[in-house]
Each structure stands twice: as structure tokens, then as C-alpha cells.
């Protein structure tokens, strides 16, 4: 794990206590500024449910704190900007790429392998891989403190996978942002480094088989 160069607050960046639904949890978790947490586990174990729950998309029992601030004290739209969730298949609704962007930096687009004219591209013409990469830039435009990445590089070729990984790592270092990355890819987890937890039957546990990176 990267040691944070400076601490934004003394406490954890993100904290979950007793987060629970009928199909998941209870989950207790704490994420430090700049920390990357990897989650692996069989499909259907509740990994996506956990990320959705942190982004406040499903009603759940338990508490979520960001910078020691209880989630319910922050407006929902504001919360979801600070806790950015990137689903495996991001959705685009307007005609052009740019209509979805606020605060997206050109150097992010470059790092992802695009020219800045990508902003004028029509969404209809984007390949699924392009949609996936651009969705990362779109989410970072909100300036999230915590990134929730759900199989963010699934279906990408190796070059583009590396591009996304390095942008996420760069953003985390620059902003002291934390990230929870759900990944099935053993090699990706080795490359990224960070704490690994396994999710099984809705519960988080220390890995038994895979050694820590």
C-alpha cells in the first residue's frame, strides 16, 4: 500500500459499520486516505451490492461515514459525487460525450489514449471499451474522494487496462483519494498492490489462499 504523503484528516477516509441487507453483510470496513482496497470473490457474493450500498443506491441498515461525517447529513447528490461509483457497464444518455462531462481534464483523456476531440464524439459511435474508459474520466470529473470500481477494466485489452490502472493510481496519489476495486483478475491485483479482501456469501474476510501483494 502506498503510504499517504499527507493526511487529510486524522481518522479514516471512509468507514462502514454494520452495513447490512438481506443478501449482504454485516460489513465493517475502514479505508484510509490514499488507500487501495481490492475485493475478489465468486460472482453473486455481493461485491456489486456492497459498492452500490456505499454509493447509497439501495436502502440498507448500518452506517457509512466519509471524513467522520455521517452519510445522512450529506445531500444524496453531493454524496454520490464524493463517493464515485463506476459500474461494469456505465450508462450514457446524451448524444455527445461532452454533454456528460463536467470538470474532466484533458490530460486524463490523453492518459486514457484519447485526443481532446473525443469530447465532440457521438456516444452512439463509441465502442464498449471506449465507453468504459471515458466513464472513468467522467466520474473523476466530479472530484470524488473515494472511487468504487466494479470490474472497471473487464473486457478491455491489456494496453487499455494498464492505462486505466495508471490513471486511477495517479488520481489517488494526487488527491489522496481512496479506492475500493472489485477485480477478478489475479494479475491485475498483483500489479495494483494494496490490501486484498475476499467476499463470500455477502461477508468480507481476509484471503486464505492468495498471498497479499
Amino acid at each position: 500500500m502506498d503510504a499517504p504523503t499527507f493526511a487529510v484528516t486524522d481518522g479514516p477516509l471512509l468507514q462502514l459499520t454494520g452495513l447490512q441487507s438481506d443478501h449482504m453483510g454485516p460489513v465493517d470496513l475502514s479505508l484510509a486516505p490514499g488507500e487501495l482496497l481490492l475485493i475478489a470473490g465468486p460472482s453473486g457474493a455481493g461485491k456489486s451490492l456492497l459498492l452500490r450500498a456505499i454509493a447509497d443506491l439501495d436502502p440498507l441498515r448500518g452506517q457509512v461515514w466519509l471524513d467522520n461525517q455521517l452519510r445522512e447529513t450529506i445531500l444524496p447528490a453531493l454524496w454520490r459525487r464524493q463517493v464515485g461509483y463506476l459500474p461494469a457497464e456505465p450508462v450514457w444518455w446524451a448524444d455527445t460525450v461532452d454533454a456528460h462531462f463536467t470538470g474532466v481534464q484533458d490530460d486524463w483523456l490523453e492518459q486514457l489514449g484519447f485526443q481532446s476531440d473525443v469530447r465532440q464524439w457521438e456516444v452512439e459511435r463509441l465502442s464498449s471499451g471506449e465507453r468504459q474508459r471515458l466513464a472513468l474520466a467522467r466520474m473523476l470529473g466530479n472530484g470524488p474522494r473515494v472511487l468504487l470500481l466494479d470490474e472497471a477494466t473487464a473486457n478491455l485489452d491489456p494496453d487499455n487496462t494498464l492505462r486505466m490502472e495508471s490513471l486511477v493510481r495517479g488520481y489517488m496519489t494526487e488527491r489522496q483519494a481512496g479506492a475500493i476495486w472489485v477485480s477478478h483478475d489475479h494479475e491485475q491485483r498483483q500489479r495494483l498492490g494494496g490490501r486484498l479482501l475476499m467476499m463470500e456469501l455477502g461477508r468480507l474476510a481476509e484471503p486464505a489462499l492468495e498471498s497479499r501483494a
Binding site: 447509497d56 443506491l57 436502502p59 459525487r81 461509483y85
Partner: protein, 263 residues
């Protein structure tokens, strides 16, 4: 000018036409004849009953009887709105949203027309109040049913899009605004089309009825314009209100999309 009275024999001739149609559809095996005959029978029975009710109501004109009649009409219309929803809201909301929207819009428009515009004495004179309310409720009901149905089915189909907008920090209202606009359009289209076609493509039923009953055409036209405008306002405000309430109900206090609130 006196109305020419219809005898049972006159109606039988028209009924024979319907029976001939039923016979034809059954011969070619379209499977429509039974539905056709049942509907025709219902028309006769229901209209005769309402004729009796209105006759009695006109003879014993009293505010509480008119109010009771209006309440029954509202409740039946509310049920009809709910029955037309492919995905209705669970619990009382399924009935409540449409009924509340119809009550506020159709009743307000009717009472405004009765007290300020037409001003019969007394203002709740059943000969004016009941037909007016009937026309307003009937049209408002259609608009609200169409609008709500479009809202909930589209939200159901586009759940990923709505959540995709929520996770990027849009408010509940922003995330569903396109769908709300579509729903409002489909609720208001019938009355807009009816106004545009009135007098050219179609002679509106109320006007036609008044002319048949001997009203001078210009008087009938003025009533028709009044009723069209009332219907437009009633349908418009009612549909927008129902769509707003319905859209709000699709999200909870943390602005999560709650499709589990639909049946």
C-alpha cells in the same frame, strides 16, 4: 324547437346493426362477437341506469345528493386510472396518486366553471354540474392514466439509465426529467389533438348533442369551446400533478430509485 323522441323501436333498428356486425365477426371467426354483444348490453343497462339516477337527481335537486354522485364518479374514475397501469404503485399510492390529481384538477375546473362562468342558480344545479364534471373527469382520467403509465413503464425499462445519472451526482428530479417530459407529452397529446381537429375532422360530441337537442349552433359552439378549454386545463394540471407525485414516489428520501414501490 322540440326534441324528437326516440321509441324503443327506433333503438331496436340500431341494435340490429350491432347484431349484424356480431354475426359477421363470428362467421369469419375473429372472436370479437361475444365481446361486442357484452359491451353493447352493458351500454344499454349502464346508460338506462344512469338515466334513472339523473332523472331522480334532477327531481330531488339537493347539494348532498350532487356531492354524493360526484364522489362516486371520482372513486370509479380513480379505480379506472389504477386499472390501466401496467406497473402501478403498491399500496394506497396506486389508487391515491391518480385520484388525488383528478380531484384537485377536475373538481377545481368544474367548480370554477359553475360558480364564475356559467353561474346557474344554485351553482350546483345538477343539470349543469353532473354533465360538466363527467366530461372533465372522463378526459382527465385518460390523460392521467396515460401519463402515469408512461412514467412507470419507462422508469422500469430505463432503470439503469436513471441510476447511471444518479451515481454521477444528479438529483432525483434531473435523473428522471426526460422521462417525465415524455410522460407529460403522452398524457396531453389526446386533448391537444382533439382541439386541433375540432370542427374540421370531427364535430365534438357535446356540441353535436346540443345541436340535436335544438340549441342554436353558435350557442353549442360556445359551450364546446368552454368545455374544451376546461378539459385542457383539467387534464393538463391533473396529468402534470400526477406525474410529479408519481416521479417523487419513485425515489425515497435519500433519492434512491425505488422500483420495489411498483407492483
Amino acid at each position: 324547437m322540440e326534441v324528437i323522441h326516440l321509441s324503443p323501436w327506433d333503438l331496436s333498428i340500431a341494435a340490429l346493426l350491432v347484431m349484424a356486425l356480431a354475426l359477421l365477426t363470428s362467421r369469419v371467426g375473429m372472436g370479437l362477437s361475444k365481446g361486442l354483444l357484452v359491451a353493447a348490453t352493458r351500454t344499454v343497462i349502464q346508460l338506462l341506469l344512469i338515466g334513472l339516477v339523473l332523472t331522480t337527481l334532477f327531481e330531488h335537486a339537493a347539494l348532498h345528493w350532487v356531492a354524493l354522485m360526484a364522489l362516486i364518479m371520482l372513486l370509479v374514475a380513480g379505480r379506472e386510472v389504477m386499472a390501466r397501469q401496467a406497473r402501478r404503485f403498491r399500496g394506497w399510492w396506486g389508487y391515491g396518486i391518480g385520484t388525488l390529481a383528478m380531484f384537485t384538477s377536475a373538481f377545481t375546473a368544474t367548480i370554477l366553471a359553475l360558480t364564475v362562468i356559467i353561474s346557474p342558480a344554485p351553482w350546483w344545479e345538477p343539470q349543469y354540474a353532473i354533465p360538466l364534471l363527467g366530461m372533465l373527469l372522463g378526459n382527465t382520467m385518460t390523460g392521467i392514466a396515460l401519463g402515469l403509465d408512461r412514467l412507470t413503464t419507462t422508469a422500469w425499462q430505463q432503470r439503469r439509465m436513471i441510476e447511471g445519472r444518479l451515481i454521477l451526482g444528479q438529483t432525483w428530479s434531473e435523473s428522471i426529467q426526460d422521462i417525465r417530459r415524455d410522460a407529460a407529452r403522452s398524457g396531453l397529446m389526446p386533448i391537444i389533438n382533439a382541439m386541433a381537429a375540432a370542427g374540421i375532422v370531427s364535430l365534438p360530441g357535446m356540441m353535436t348533442g346540443q345541436i340535436l337537442a335544438g340549441t342554436p349552433p353558435m350557442e353549442a359552439v360556445k359551450y364546446q369551446i368552454l368545455v374544451m378549454f376546461l378539459i385542457t386545463a383539467g387534464t393538463g394540471f391533473g396529468t402534470l400533478g400526477a406525474i410529479w407525485l408519481g416521479a417523487r414516489r419513485l425515489f425515497d428520501e435519500r433519492e434512491r430509485l425505488r422500483l420495489d414501490r411498483l407492483a
